[in-house]
């Protein structure tokens, strides 16, 4: 597959520049997964209370909303856009579920309505970004305030805590014989769908093309607007789903649920190797990064490290994850004693 053969004078072009193992070893995702494994092993050995089955349960329940929302966020960010409104959408969906349940609607209906709100909210973002042509960072700073405002406005001081036992129990239930929560099942289904869509469909090829060059994508018949619109809608609806889960897990619908979640999601997505400029990144890296942040937090808390130090470590990791490549390149250059790197590639917007 990677040989250069010459048959009857026609040059056959190789598929890949580097052998498979080198392509795997030098990629970002590999490093994150490796780090995750390392942190798990070190924590299990050195932190008392970490190596017990219940840890898995707590960990997964904690990171579930981030895991869920990170899926569409990855796609959105690969197109070079961003959705800062997801945390507020979690809150809004939570409130919608709560308000409707309280007013007597069956929980199932309330949850469907919340999902519908997610679709509408996402479509609203999508509309402003694609049809009106506004930068998504600005738009979603606006809807971050708007959705949160609606959530707080709808529910005021109250918190709805009356949800059907069956559903709240399900949100925390463990899969028989394990400590793995059920939420993992919808997550895995969504993950499978997103992986296929992003990495194995023409639509996914379009997503990468848009992120690397919007113009070239459009000239190649990629429907840039529709693609982005769909992704924002997906982002909205998955955030709403996470909101319903959130509500059930805590049994409490509040206007301020999941405040600030957006930055956690984005931090994880970026750590997972998705470029904020778009065009680059893979879902397995993102999933590993969410878990890495979760495991680090859980381990450090167990070790008695306070939240401030955990924040410092999270921030440091994020910085290191992007700077590491530069340091490596720099070290290599020193060794090779070559000139400065190429300085032509223009980088697009932040």
């Amino acid at each position: 597959m990677t040989t250069t053969t010459t048959t009857s004078g026609v040059r056959v072009i190789r598929d890949y520049d580097r052998p498979l193992w080198r392509r795997i070893l030098i990629n970002r995702e590999f490093a994150i997964i490796g780090l995750l494994v390392l942190v798990v092993i070190v924590s299990a050995v050195s932190i008392r209370g970490f190596a017990q089955p219940i840890t898995v349960n707590y960990l997964l329940l904690d990171v579930a909303p981030i895991l869920l929302i990170a899926l569409p966020m990855t796609l959105v960010m690969i197109t070079g856009e961003i959705d800062l409104s997801v945390g507020s959408m979690v809150g809004l969906a939570s409130v919608v579920t709560g308000v409707l349940t309280e007013s007597g609607a069956p929980f199932e209906v309330a949850a469907l309505a919340a999902l519908a709100v997610g679709v509408i909210g996402g479509a609203f973002n999508g509309f402003l970004v694609t049809v009106v042509g506004l930068p998504s960072l600005a738009v979603t700073i606006g809807t971050l305030a708007l959705f949160r405002g609606l959530a707080v406005g709808l529910l005021g001081t109250t918190a709805v805590t009356d949800f059907p036992e069956m559903w709240t129990a399900l949100a925390k239930a463990k899969i028989a014989g394990t400590t793995i929560p059920y939420i993992v099942i919808p997550f895995l289904i969504l993950l499978a769908i997103f992986v296929v869509v992003l990495h194995f469909t023409p639509f996914g090829r379009g997503i990468y093309a848009i992120g690397l060059s919007k113009d070239a994508a459009r000239f190649s018949g990629v429907n840039v607007e529709r693609t982005k619109f769909i992704l924002f809608m997906l982002s909205g609806v998955v955030a709403a789903f996470a909101g319903i889960f959130y509500t059930l897990r805590f049994g409490s619908a509040r206007g301020d649920n999941a405040t600030g979640l957006e930055l956690q999601v984005i931090a994880a997505v970026v750590l997972g190797g998705v470029s904020v400029f778009g065009g680059r990144g893979h879902l397995h890296g993102v999933v590993a990064a969410v878990l890495l942040i979760g495991v680090l937090g859980s381990g450090l808390r167990l070790a008695g490290v306070t939240s401030d130090v955990i924040n410092i470590i999270t921030g440091g990791l994020l910085i290191f994850s992007v700077v590491a490549a530069s340091i490596l390149a720099w070290a290599q250059r020193i060794r090779a004693k070559a000139g400065p790197p190429l300085r032509v590639a223009a980088s697009p917007a932040p």
């Binding site: 509040r254 600030g260 808390r301």
Partner: protein
């Protein structure tokens, strides 16, 4: 049996274990009120020879608290002393902790009664509502418009007090009207700006009640720098160190609070009594709380610290917290 109780009892059973590792989980870290209560708790724990720890989120949200409750469960601490950010949201996590043998004491802000063993109440809610309304009424002469500057919209205790204040005003001070309740989210700056907005949108306002230490300090700061100083009364719940300046410059005549250090101190002793099996949280149980003396568990597993204390220019110099 002291000192070594740091938690070797990995699978601590309920009842008379001697696992005296006690973890305080306030609403958030970096809040002076809870810093003081945790100090009281620490003092108590050191007195009876347990291990003290304070953990907590940076921001006062229930989901972040749940992670810390879970951690405590994994660590199998002896007791967890919590001020709840939400009465319901942290319930399941607390119950799970209790199932794993952790004793749960809430203080300052309660959860639903079925999720904890004891609630250490700083003062009964009626008393808290009453003392604040009585003071503002006295300061504004028993008639006029007042407003409330609260913490976050979902703060359990604040909401309960505000309800009771409204009832008390309606029944005892018919000439006073509560025109608005605003929420400063227990942030300096938000509380500050909300105060300014209150004063502008209600030109007839005679007084502000802020049943939260962050809120009252911010409101006092705004008032002290504005034309309303001395014209609009302010009272509520505050700590003497935060309010000293404003009592001395005349912005604030009086405000109330219990001693948060005592609250933490009592909570720690209650936790100890639970851990050692001296009490179970039944009504009528009694336990010894070091310097504070003996306390009795009331209905619903509530222990009352005492009456709120009113600070004014005459006595504020005696306190340092």
């Amino acid at each position: 049996d002291t000192g070594s109780g740091s938690g070797d009892a990995g699978s601590g059973e309920g009842g008379g274990s001697d696992n005296l590792s006690i973890t305080f989980l306030p609403k958030n870290l970096g809040n002076p009120y809870f810093d003081t209560s945790s100090e009281g708790g620490k003092k108590a724990v050191e007195e009876f020879g347990g291990t003290f720890a304070e953990v907590g989120p940076a921001e006062a949200t229930p989901d972040a608290q749940v992670s810390y409750i879970n951690t405590a469960t994994q660590q199998a601490v002896g007791a967890l002393v919590v001020s709840a950010n939400d009465p319901k949201a942290i319930c399941d996590a607390l119950n799970e902790a209790r199932d794993a043998g952790v004793k749960v004491v809430t203080f300052d802000s309660d959860t639903n009664p079925e999720c904890r063993d004891l609630f250490i109440n700083q003062a009964d809610s009626e008393g808290i509502a009453k003392v604040q309304i009585d003071q503002i009424a006295e300061q504004i002469g028993g008639a006029g418009e007042i407003a409330v500057l609260s913490a976050s919209a979902n703060a359990t205790n604040q909401n309960a007090w505000i309800e009771l204040m409204k009832e008390y005003v309606a029944s005892d001070y018919p000439d006073i009207t509560i025109v608005e309740t605003v929420y400063g989210d227990d942030e300096d700056q938000t509380s500050f700006d909300k105060t300014a907005a209150l004063l502008q949108s209600h030109p007839q306002l005679k007084g502000i009640v802020s049943p939260t230490t962050v809120g009252i300090a911010a409101a006092a700061r705004y008032l002290s720098t504005s034309d309303y100083k001395g014209k609009v009364a302010l009272t509520g719940l505050g700590t003497p160190n935060q309010m000293r300046e404003y009592v001395e410059d005349g912005t604030v005549t009086s405000f109330a609070l219990w001693n948060p250090a005592d609250l933490g101190y009592l909570s720690a002793f209650a936790a100890k009594a639970l851990v050692e099996g001296d009490i179970t949280g039944k009504e009528g149980d009694t336990f010894e709380a070091g310097d504070l003396g003996e306390y009795e568990v009331g209905a619903d597993g509530v222990v009352l610290l005492g009456d709120p204390f009113v600070f004014n220019a005459d006595n504020i110099g005696d306190f340092d917290f």
